[in-house]
Symmetry: C2
Subunit: 110 residues, 2 copies
């Protein structure tokens, strides 16, 4: 019961948080989908479902926060690399400001 609520809560916390994490990861490098899942897992211990990541990246692309390009591999399936756009960089700055303020507020009450 209790665990069930926490599980659902964690899923809700990810709404918004995931996009924020992914944009932050893309600030330093270009990455392709699977790599983004690995990086997120490594950096935050959050396991992103594939059914979450790909629609999310498409949304970010549609919003013009990231751009993508296909890169053929000598072996295996082509990879779609994502990169922050100028708009993505400036939007991320606003998001970081909001997050820091939120974090600070929550730190005071927990």
């Amino acid at each position: 019961m209790e665990d069930d609520f926490v599980r659902r809560w964690e899923s809700q916390v990810k709404k918004g948080t995931l996009a924020f994490i992914l944009l932050n990861i893309l600030r330093d490098n270009e990455y392709y989908g699977f790599e983004l899942m690995e990086q997120t897992r490594r950096l935050t211990d959050i396991q992103i479902a594939e059914g979450t990541l790909y629609p999310l990246m498409n949304r970010l692309k549609k919003e013009n926060l990231v751009s993508s390009k296909w890169v053929e591999q000598e072996s295996g399936i082509p990879r779609k690399y994502y990169k922050l756009t100028g708009n993505g960089i400036s939007t991320l700055k606003i998001m970081v400001e909001y997050w820091k303020k939120l974090e600070e507020s929550i730190d005071k009450i927990i």
Copy 2:
């Protein structure tokens, strides 16, 4: 456009975060609905819509994280006071752990 994305993002961040904030506020005192909106506004600068708060409190009650009691006023409309249950206290502890870990991870990448 950009602002539009940020506005929607902030709304998404609130999913999960709001429940967490409200439970934390209720850790120290009993509060009624309107007071919870004020406290949240004061402590986090987040303006909770009424259409968000009341269904949210009902969910928390249904999940047995809070209990409520009506208190008649000498003047004005009766108030419904909310209080953390034992289950609410222990669940909140788990949530705080998750949040601290998340916060720490995000701090490293922003």
